[in-house]
Amino acid sequence: MTEKKLVYLSGMHANQSGRVVRIEGGAGLVSRLSAMGIRPGRKITKLSSMLLRGPVFTQAGSTRLAIGFGMASKILVELDES
């Protein structure tokens, strides 16, 4: 069995994809993110991020979202094997 690699969305490289494992935030953040298409089990791709801990630009389903760095540091992702 291959070892699963877990990283936070903020720490992913551009163009890496994975599946959301969990959101380490309060109920408010969890429901807000899930309403916008980010919740455990969903496939997510990081497209790019701004310098200096700027927002992270992602795609989940057909929705593209810009997520603040702090929020992105609470989204744990299991990387796809490449």
Partner: protein, 588 residues
């Protein structure tokens, strides 16, 4: 139509034919509710390609069968758990409606269905408009509408609001709006239900990226993003200057010079060249020369300022802004600006109200409703009303200060920008609370049809003509009356120590500050006959821009910030304006 069978089945199950009075247009942000609204009611509202364009609600009427029904354009919301003021408004509206048209972005079915199911759980009669239906094919998406209609238990109508496709069918389906009451479910249950619906009705085939999509990605990568932003910024500035100046030089100035001046001179002759009526209507006319800027008559300055000085820049600004809005660039700018804006106590999305403020502060302050916290709204609204000059004010600054040399215009803008940065930085440290983080949907770029761009431009320009011209004429009338009564001297003498001693302006400039409360463009115009030095003109323009909001902005600030917030903001404005004006006076 393919889904006819499904619809007649729904009618049997739960359709209702009468009792429709108020229909709500609800859906996720940026799915095209406002465009649907305009199509249904004929009421024109501002629609753009970014989430959060609509922050209040607009009502209109349309005919369903032989009855007039009220339609409400509700701000977009991702769920029925509000996260900002605009979403709270959406939730409040829900209680008042008899039926909902749930506008869905067909290219984003899964995420949109979250709200659809939540609405169905509320047990309100509903019809689903599958909007942007023309885009579905381009994106390699295939949706089985008949199946979806069956699964949701309410009519589903494909629409392309921007072209009007499907609007007739949508209206016809309204009497069939049905209640498909679902039991309230938990988040997980709902997402599971959505997952199963999407799996049954939607197929996505892979296809290659278009050039527009490549540009989409490039504009939010750090390096290419900044280059693109710089190009757009310079292009925007040059575009506005070019359109504005061309309109003035080739259209409006000639109209006034060759067509209106003879009329004014004829009138002047008719009125005997002097007297109270002459000076109110035409101002002072010296030796057959009409000075449209300095004469301050209703038919001279009163028409020239709004039509020949301000209007060209209003047209130019809103043309360029409208293009940026409709293409979908603004949310990307918000992403690029996010890190910077956090230092000002805001997040990147606050750049959108700020840009709107360069047109008019009133819609800008309303647009701060897309920000999540009260603290952000206070900071954003204060910064806008103090350091973001509206297009009318800017046109006058370009017209009057620009005549002395572009370097003076640069000082005015540089000062306002510095105030924006320093004040934002200070407020971020002084105002309690924290600034929430950016979380926004980035819409795809769309190429807007010219017709919609021009329609929106006309909506804004006619709004300016309707709202500004009466106030400008009123302000000039008030100036003339006060002048005749000698009231100005009393005010001027009272404030002379500050205005003359500290700001280095002639005491008559006080009058401009007072009139600034009515219209800032007229107020800057009042500086023209005072024979100011270039430095004085710069100080005067800066102080006028910052000192106090115009009456329209004042009313909105009061409503949005409350009395206490407004008082705080006003105190900041007066203090900072005097401090900065005095400093400029010392330096220049």
């Amino acid at each position: 139509m393919a889904c006819h069978g499904a619809r007649s089945r729904i009618r049997k199950r739960g359709g209702r034919k009468s009792g429709l009075k108020k229909i709500l247009l609800m859906g996720n942000p940026n799915v095209g509710k406002s465009v649907v609204f305009s199509r249904l009611t004929g009421v024109k509202v501002i629609a753009s390609n970014y989430p959060g364009t609509t922050v209040g609600y607009t009502q209109g009427f349309m005919k369903v069968g032989d009855k007039m029904v009220e339609v409400v354009d509700v701000p977009g919301t991702y769920s029925l758990e509000p996260t900002c003021e605009a979403e709270e408004i959406a939730l409040e509206m829900l209680a008042a409606g008899d039926a909902v048209i749930n506008v869905v972005d067909a290219t984003n079915l899964e995420r949109n269905l979250n709200l659809t199911l939540q609405l169905l759980e509320k047990g309100i009669p509903m019809v689903v408009a599958m909007n942007m239906w023309d885009d579905v094919g381009h994106r390699g998406i295939n949706i089985d509408l008949k199946r979806l209609e069956g699964l949701l238990g309410v009519p589903v109508i494909p629409t392309v609001a921007i072209t009007g496709q499907g609007m007739k069918e949508l209206v016809e389906s309204l009497p069939l709006a049905s209640v498909a009451k679902l039991p309230p479910s938990s988040h997980d249950e709902r997402w599971a239900a959505i997952g199963s619906i999407v799996e049954q009705v939607q197929q996505v085939t892979h296809r290659h990226h278009t050039w527009l999509e490549r540009l989409e990605d490039a504009s939010v990568r750090p390096l290419t993003g900044i280059i693109i932003a710089a190009v757009i910024l310079v292009g925007t500035f040059l575009g506005i200057r070019f359109v504005g100046e061309s309109l003035i030089t080739y259209v409006l100035d000639p109209i006034f010079e060759y067509l209106w001046t003879p009329v004014v001179l004829w009138l002047s002759h008719l009125l005997g060249g002097a007297g109270i009526i002459h000076s109110v209507l035409l101002g002072h006319i010296v030796a057959g020369e009409v000075s449209y800027v300095e004469s301050f008559g209703l038919l001279t300055t009163g028409l020239y300022v709004p039509l020949a000085m301000v209007l060209p820049y209003i047209v130019a600004f809103y043309l360029v802004l409208g293009l940026l809005e409709d293409v979908g660039y603004l949310p990307r700018l918000a992403v690029l600006m996010d890190t910077v804006m956090h230092h000002l106590g805001l997040h990147g999305y606050a750049i959108i109200p700020t840009l709107l403020g360069l047109g008019c502060n009133v819609p800008a302050i309303l647009a701060t409703r897309i920000l999540e916290s009260k603290r952000e709204r206070f900071i954003a609204a204060t910064l806008i009303s103090i350091a973001v000059p509206c297009a009318a004010l800017q046109a006058m600054i370009f017209g009057l200060v620009g005549a002395r040399g572009i370097q003076y215009v640069a000082i005015v803008y540089g000062t306002l920008f510095a105030v924006w940065v320093v004040l934002g930085f200070t407020l971020n440290h002084v105002v309690k609370g924290f600034s929430p983080e950016l979380l926004i949907e980035i819409p795809p770029y769309r190429i807007p049809p010219w017709r919609t761009v021009l329609q929106k431009l006309w909506l804004r320009v006619s709004g300016f003509l309707r709202e500004a011209i009466p106030i400008i004429l009123g302000a000039i009338l008030v100036i003339n009356i006060l002048h005749t009564l000698g009231v100005f001297n009393a005010i001027a003498n009272l404030a002379a120590p500050v205005v003359t001693g500290w700001l280095g302006l002639p005491k008559e400039a006080v009058v401009a500050l007072v009139i600034g409360f009515l219209r800032k463009d007229v107020a800057v115009g009042m500086l023209a006959p005072l024979a100011l030095t270039s430095a004085q003109l710069v100080v005067g323009s800066v102080v006028l821009a910052m000192f106090f909001p115009c009456i329209a902005t004042f009313v909105v600030l009061l409503r949005e910030l409350g009395v206490a917030g407004m008082l705080k903001a006003a105190a900041i404005m007066v203090t900072v304006a005097l401090a900065v004006g005095g400093l400029l006076n010392l330096i220049l």
